[in-house]
């Protein structure tokens, strides 16, 4: 299955303190050259790795895709359809920052067939928004949603973050309350993780970052699950909640261990059993594409053992978990054969449950997901560690 495509737009008008994605401060960047490079990469990728089926999900992420002009973004969106067959039923998502998309942007998105927006709300607390260096005000989330709906974009998701520096349970409850009152279909909620090469990382090293305790973070997570459930949303994956029928198909493609295209600087892809990563820095990415090659920084052919491991540690993130039958079908071996004793041990620890065919995390298992996932790494033949640049 290879019916998903990710497109990365690595520009931002302002850099958030927690962000370690591949992104560049917009000012003076060669955006037009980037647009051309993306067009070229799309074309050459479609030639080199022809899609077996029409594309069912497209996700344009960043960075801030809407930081570029509507016309620049339009060219990239259009190029996807130019070089790839796209299903009529496509889920076509673009990430939008509150306040960064005006009416002309919304109009363009609608015209290009975008039918889902992922809005980076993060929190509704003005102080916390400043503390994490977002460039929007809380009220702009509502404005953006309103504007989107005016343009016929009604399938809307928001991103939220918890475990932010100094964040209290009260602040989190307020944010949740405000979030579920919005006309949205989907919430993605992530706990802050301080990553290297971010402002927060530097602050943490100097002891300037006051983070909530693990207990509070766990309580916040429980609060989130409850608020989403009260709002009629299902937790279909550890960090994702949706009204019925509005699960993100693109997201699920990752967790289902399906293949996907990845276009743009720093993008990851998984095609024909090969995981690849594109050059991240713009000069390298542009040079590679412009000189006629595909911009792969690294490639890794995933052996079947790793596929099986990934099937488990990705699949178990979903509410539906992993189907024993499907595993057997894909790999011709049963989960018990490949991971002897693991399911039993995790079940007895109360982290894993099963309803016949499907294995899935318990509520406690969701909190301790990494302890579960780790058990599905087989000892022998680990992937050689590749240096990140």
């Amino acid at each position: 299955m290879r019916r998903s495509l990710y497109l990365h737009v690595p520009f931002c008008g302002q850099i958030c303190h927690y962000c370690d994605f591949n992104k560049f401060f917009l000012h003076n960047q060669p955006v037009d050259r980037y647009v051309q490079a993306v067009e070229k990469e799309l074309k050459e990728t479609a030639e080199a790795l022809p899609p077996p089926d029409p594309i069912e999900t497209i996700y344009v992420g960043g960075g801030t895709p809407t930081a570029v002009t509507p016309e620049q973004l339009r060219k990239m969106l259009r190029a996807v359809r130019t070089y790839f067959p796209v299903s009529n039923e496509v889920e076509f998502t673009v990430e939008v920052n509150p306040g960064s998309a005006d009416a002309s942007m919304m109009r363009m998105l609608k015209e290009e067939g975008v039918n889902r927006l992922s809005i980076g709300a993060q929190t509704f607390d003005e102080g916390l928004l400043r503390a994490i260096n977002r460039d929007h005000k809380a009220g702009q989330v509502e404005e953006t949603i309103h504007l989107a709906r005016e343009h016929g974009l009604t399938n809307l998701s928001i991103d939220l973050m918890f475990g932010l520096p100094t964040q209290t349970m009260g602040q989190w409850k307020d944010t949740l309350k405000r979030a579920v009152s919005l006309p949205i279909t989907h919430i993605s909620a992530y706990a802050l993780k301080v990553e290297p090469k971010t402002v927060f990382y530097q602050m943490e090293k100097r002891g300037q970052l006051v983070l909530p305790t693990v207990e509070l973070e766990a309580d916040m997570y429980e609060e989130l699950k409850q608020a989403a459930a009260d709002a009629g949303m299902t937790q279909y994956e550890i960090s994702n909640f949706a009204a019925e029928g509005f699960e993100s198909m693109h997201n699920l493609a990752y967790w289902n261990n399906d293949e996907y295209y990845g276009i743009g600087a720093g993008a990851h892809s998984y095609t024909d059993s090969i995981r690849r990563r594109n050059f991240g820095p713009l000069p390298q990415y542009l040079k590679a594409v412009e000189t006629g090659s595909l911009p792969y920084l690294e490639q890794h052919t995933v052996p079947v053992q790793e596929k099986m491991e990934e099937e488990m540690f990705m699949g178990l993130r979903k509410r539906l978990g992993v189907s024993r039958k499907q595993f057997q079908h894909r790999y011709n071996r049963s989960i018990g054969e490949v991971f002897p004793g693991v399911v039993e041990a995790l079940t007895s620890r109360g982290l894993l449950a099963s309803n016949g065919d499907r294995l899935f995390l318990t509520e406690e298992g969701k909190l301790l997901g990494n302890d579960v996932f780790e058990q599905f790494l087989l000892a022998a033949d680990p992937v050689p560690a590749e240096e990140e640049n």
Partner: protein
Amino acid sequence: MKPEDRIKRRDRIRNFSIIAHIDHGKSTLADRILEKTSALTQREMQDQMLDAMDLERERGITIKLNAVQLTYTAKDGEEYIFHLIDTPGHVDFAYEVSRSLAACEGALLIVDAAQGIEAQTLANVYLALDNDLEIIPIINKIDLPGAEPDRVRQEVEDVIGLPGEDCIPASAKDGVGIDEIIESIVEKIPAPQGDPEAPLKAMIFDSLYDPYRGVIVYVRIMEGTVKPKQKIRMMANGKEFEVAELGVFTPKPTPKDELTVGDVGFMIANIKQVGDSQVGDTITHAAKPTPEPLPGYRKLNPMVFCGLYPVDTNDYNGLREALEKLELNDSSLQFEAETSQALGFGFRCGFLGLLHMEIIQERIEREFNIDLITTAPSVIYGVTLTDGTELEIDNPSEMPDAQTVDHIREPYVKAEVMVPNEYVGPVMELCQKKRGDYVDMKYLDENRVNIVYNIPLSEIVYDFFDTLKSSTKGYASFDYELIGYKESNLVKMDILLNGEKIDALSIIVHRDSAYDRGKHIAEKLKNLIPRQQFEVPVQASIGQKVVARSTIKAMRKNVLAKCYGGDVSRKRKLLEKQKEGKKRMKSVGNVEVPQEAFMSVLSMDDNK
């Protein structure tokens, strides 16, 4: 050689060693003497060549003794033969020091012109005086800005009782005073006594194992003459060997036809184990033995014990080989296999003292490339059971149940601490806290005080050095000697994790300090053991009674949020790192304990 030549030669021999505190300039002075006596050309001379091993050089201490033969033409026109015998510089090797001093007629005492006499130096001076050595005091480093030669001169007079005006001012670094020192060796140090034609008495003052030659024995000939092919006998165990080679170090090993009275050199006799050539033992002829061995021989017994475990269990055999190799050269090192439920397979090892323990540890890690976990050092406890049985226990986990124990005795040492007087308060406080009994306090001069306490050895091995150093800003010098056993109110304290005993962490403590030690360890473990899925109690208990506890809270949340835009390999790496981390943990009571937690509790470095 004709008998009268042997006598003539004997009278031109001067045997001496150098007594100095670490860093007071022993090696530098030795180098200057080597230069002046042209034992080596400059090119051959490595700086401070007497300290052969890297480790010695780094730590500024000498582990193995060395003996060098030098020739010197004095102002009287005669050519003299010097034997410079180097001594180890630490209390753990006091016996070896005493034997190498016994091989000499004189000693150069180096005192730092700025720092004065230190406790260790004093201990060795007493050893030298015990052996009737002629002592030549040298005040070194007079070139230093802080030098106070007059004060130090007075100190030599007050503390050691040597006339202050005999002190030779010197700067070994700049070559000042060297000629005078060498001349005084000729003038003041007596020539050896002894009859070259009498039955052989050769004293062993060191030995080392050479993989090609077997044991190389360092000897000083006190009486008689020995030649290759002669049959010799070790008087301690009666074993006999045939001399294969004799010689002296110049400092290169140089074979000789004979060694006779006054000579200091080496002997190779197809000896397979250093244990057969015990320091202090007397070698005699098998055919014409002397009736009386030389006085002063005693067998060395370890005083401090600990478990050594490989961090990587695959290194167990490597560790055994390392210990076997080190044992070849070090008859005072003892070891036997032991198993710990927490640490796996390892060895219980006995050492002469703490420094000896550290040296062995470091040599294993450095020369054999094996990472070690070292358990808390322990001493030998004398245990009397209620039924009257006497036991010797060197491993806390083997201490019998409290109900069966009548009483426990522990070894005490006499500890001498020398400090500037402003630190008398902190030192006494420390000694009291360490259950010390006050013995004596003496002002050496206006500024310096010698404090004597009797302290349990177990308190010395547990962070005494470090606390002493930090509470006196490094000004204290310290020395100790074993004085015997005393009954104490001791108990065995166990550490329990999730209700299960961690054998490697059991300790024997005084009842009065059990609570503090237990609390400290429980808190430390709480901070070092990662949270588990469930709450884990950490307890310190004496028998069934819990004296301290802490709780490792349950891990509430450990899950990665994002997939980083499809970056599966990143996720995988994080999981692999987590898994790899756990692999290096030991499972105790169903709890994953990182190596680091054991090491931190067991190590003596950072207690409190």
